[in-house]
Symmetry: C2
Subunit: 359 residues, 2 copies
Amino acid sequence: MTTEELSDTHGLPAAPSLLSTAHERIEPLLREAVGALQPELRRVCGYHFGWSQPDGSPTYGVAPEPPLRAALTLCAAGASESGRDGSATHSTDAALPGAAAVELVHNWAALHDDVMDGEALRHGRSAVWAVYGTGWAVLAGDALLGAATRRVLPTGADPEAEGAVLRLLTRTTSRLVSGRSAELALRRRAPEGISVEEYAVVAGARRSSLLECALAGGALLAGADERVVEALTRAGHHLGVAAQVARDIEDLWSGTALSGRPVMSGLREGGPSLPLIAALRAGNPAARTLAQSLGGGPACPPPPDELAALIDHAGGRAAADEISAWQLTEALTQLDKAALPAATHAALRALFRHTVARG
Amino acid sequence: MTTEELSDTHGLPAAPSLLSTAHERIEPLLREAVGALQPELRRVCGYHFGWSQPDGSPTYGVAPEPPLRAALTLCAAGASESGRDGSATHSTDAALPGAAAVELVHNWAALHDDVMDGEALRHGRSAVWAVYGTGWAVLAGDALLGAATRRVLPTGADPEAEGAVLRLLTRTTSRLVSGRSAELALRRRAPEGISVEEYAVVAGARRSSLLECALAGGALLAGADERVVEALTRAGHHLGVAAQVARDIEDLWSGTALSGRPVMSGLREGGPSLPLIAALRAGNPAARTLAQSLGGGPACPPPPDELAALIDHAGGRAAADEISAWQLTEALTQLDKAALPAATHAALRALFRHTVARG
């Protein structure tokens, strides 16, 4: 991506324009991957990506999910100032298949997560399982994961980087699965017994692993050196925790506007949430009232808005805000350590802030 | 595998001993893959493989599913008489990771298939989704697919063969997904409108793709030449169709003994089946009676045993028997064309017959 592409009209990179550029570059590859599927799966995946109605007819005015992870990959490919052959275009071109793969992996996880959670909304529309049934959602996820792997099969053009990216993607899918398993296990435990750190590790790990992969993959494909790849991996880790905690806050207090999910869906699903865990551990009278309300058992939980107010009163929201902000600061510090070219650095800063605010 | 390992007491290879040898060689790799998973997933997968009870305690007397595909891979590795370095042991050792990968892919497909079909029995025990819920079955499948891919990541030991096997496995998972999609689409159509050939292509394709992968993968990893790989691929194709048609016959008339599934489960699930399709196209009075029975609509289908008798009477069973036998003959003809070492050839013949009779 050239400096020009990365900048808004004031010469500063703006997340929306970065996302829109990434969308334009990545969508043809996603459409190609989906186009190669069997007709029924093509329809299911086309619906999932917002390109068509449930019956396969084209949509108008459905805003696609911004390809945040692909944008991170494409920007991170600017880590190596001019790519291996000295051309700036080359470095992001080399990262395109990786960027598509990361988006495909994200969508595999989204399709299967919605099945596991019985979550009927995805980005403001009905989830695939709710439209076509569980079987098709499972199969569509499997299809997208397969397409992701095919995108990063070694071509022989750059054996070392290609091998590293393939291993990175494989490790990432495996971390997503383990993270999901740990999270399902955590949900079965009483929130009183979960520490803030434990929750941040488990819930953050799932979100982090794909962000780490997006950032490190872009750098690897552009031929950046190991030090840069490592700094970006650490940045991705903190960014994931910051974004997950921000999402927990949003789930409790912001409604459907950003996530496309109903307000307080996390609490209704009985999953732990960082504000809740922090509130329970605050040791103040509001925390005790909150614990007593939850102690009423699943048969008579207080209404979600009452719970949210208690969590806020006990200090859970403030604690979560603080943790999210601290993790974002850490992510930006690690980004500084990568010592990237100025335009790349500014673009990634903008995307990091956007990820936490909107991701 | 040495000639000795491949032979029964009469010096002839017997499928049960080949399967039991494959089991002994492959199980440690499967246990290693499952052992690397997060504890909850380890328990779910341990149950799936028959190693443990639902609560994780060990099982006694649960016969594991014979690793048919791994046995095919290990035997096919005998295609190259003595492997690349001149040692017979080397050639099947080289094929071990591939054999484990093929079994892991089979189990990914099994876990997800049972979710899609709502099939509550697998190899005579409750399916994972019926024990732990749909979410865990989806996740366990994802975990095993990831483990399969990791098994065949290039190590650099033999870049050409390793690259070919990785591409083969990726193509196979993608064919399994497309085949499944085509099959789900076929199920929604009236069986009267489906030709025998069309059914054989769709239903056979799913079963064939993994058998082709098992055979070709073994040959590739052992360093066999392209002509052998191609002949084994064609053999795997016909073997898959033969086995699928045999399974259709078994589903209608043999009960739970072999498949671990209830008798006539295919008909009850409303899926097409080759005997049914062939019977409907027989053009005799029994075919017309059958068509009339089915025309009663889903609200009042005839009892399954009555349907099975009608299919038999119209000639559907005999037609299916003939097709399965012809496809097995074709598979064995292709096997002959591979011009394999005698012991390997005899072992694969035995496994082919076993696959159709019991697979």
